[in-house]
Symmetry: C2
DNA sequence: GGAAATAGAAACCATATCGGTTACATTAAC
DNA sequence: GTTAATGTAACCGATATGGTTTCTATTTCC
């Protein structure tokens, strides 16, 4: 995994705060602290996943493709995780029956643990994230 | 994360199966499918964590330092994870109050999701892993 | 129609990580 | 002292990553 997940959540959070007004990759890059090109690489993934829509040209930028209350953070994760497993798996080069059985057990357990992690991400929507940010901004400290 | 977790579980599983007889890094490397040097790098971490004990010289090798029923797979994870977080965190370069609040929210959520993953690993002991392997070996298919 | 603003994408580079190998030192049993 | 084993450092090649540059495509505004 790389930094794409945190960038994606930054994008979704800021897009939600705009309430329909498009936000540019330049502004997203500046607030996140990286370059616009890096940000567009993540924007491309979010588009492919159908989470945002982007307009080119003057006045362009990105907006949420669906209501913020219908987008879970797990969807953001899956949009940017290129089929990568969080925990590494046993390789195929194991020798012997015991090693193979052990590898199968470990792989199943890793999959189960990852599922637990994804369940946590699925329990939070972009709208909830946005509400949290709004409340914290209005009530400093 | 690298492959050290799967190697560590391989080590603990095979050590448990030996019931006190030391196992060499050469045999562990052969059954896992890598080189003995790579394996010893993981063995060093498991030693530092107090999960195995290793003897040099002829007839040497590694044995479990504690009963298999008292070692959880989470301990193995923490022995090999060099303080690394599974999910990446927001960088410190965020600009603006909204970005900082959002980063804090995301970081907290990531920590929570990781905790859910670790809980799954903590629920399994090396002894249970060993029992599973033994039962599967005796009853093929 | 032209200028400006914006996204899209490819290419390249510097850096870090990782697994593998080699080499050598250290330890313990026989 | 020979043999078998761990401990560790050094190096190499492959891969991933983030950053930058450059160019193209699109859209709006004048």
């Amino acid at each position: 995994m790389n930094s794409h997940l945190t960038i994606a959540l930054h994008v979704l959070g800021f897009s939600a705060a705009r309430a329909g007004e498009p936000i540019t990759s330049e502004e997203l890059a500046r607030t996140y602290g990286t370059s616009p090109v890096v940000l567009r690489r993540v924007l491309a993934k979010l588009q492919r996943a159908g989470l945002i829509e982007t307009q080119r040209g003057r006045g362009g930028g990105s907006v949420l493709a669906r209501p913020a209350s219908t987008i879970t953070l797990r969807e953001a994760y899956e949009a940017v995780a290129d089929n990568q497993q969080i925990l590494p798996r046993h390789p195929s080069g194991c020798a012997g029956r015991a090693a193979l059985v052990l590898a199968g057990f470990v792989n199943d357990l890793c999959a189960d643990a990852e599922q637990a992690l994804l369940d946590r991400l699925e329990a939070v929507t972009v709208a909830e994230m946005d509400r949290h940010v709004r409340s914290q901004i209005r009530a400093p400290d």
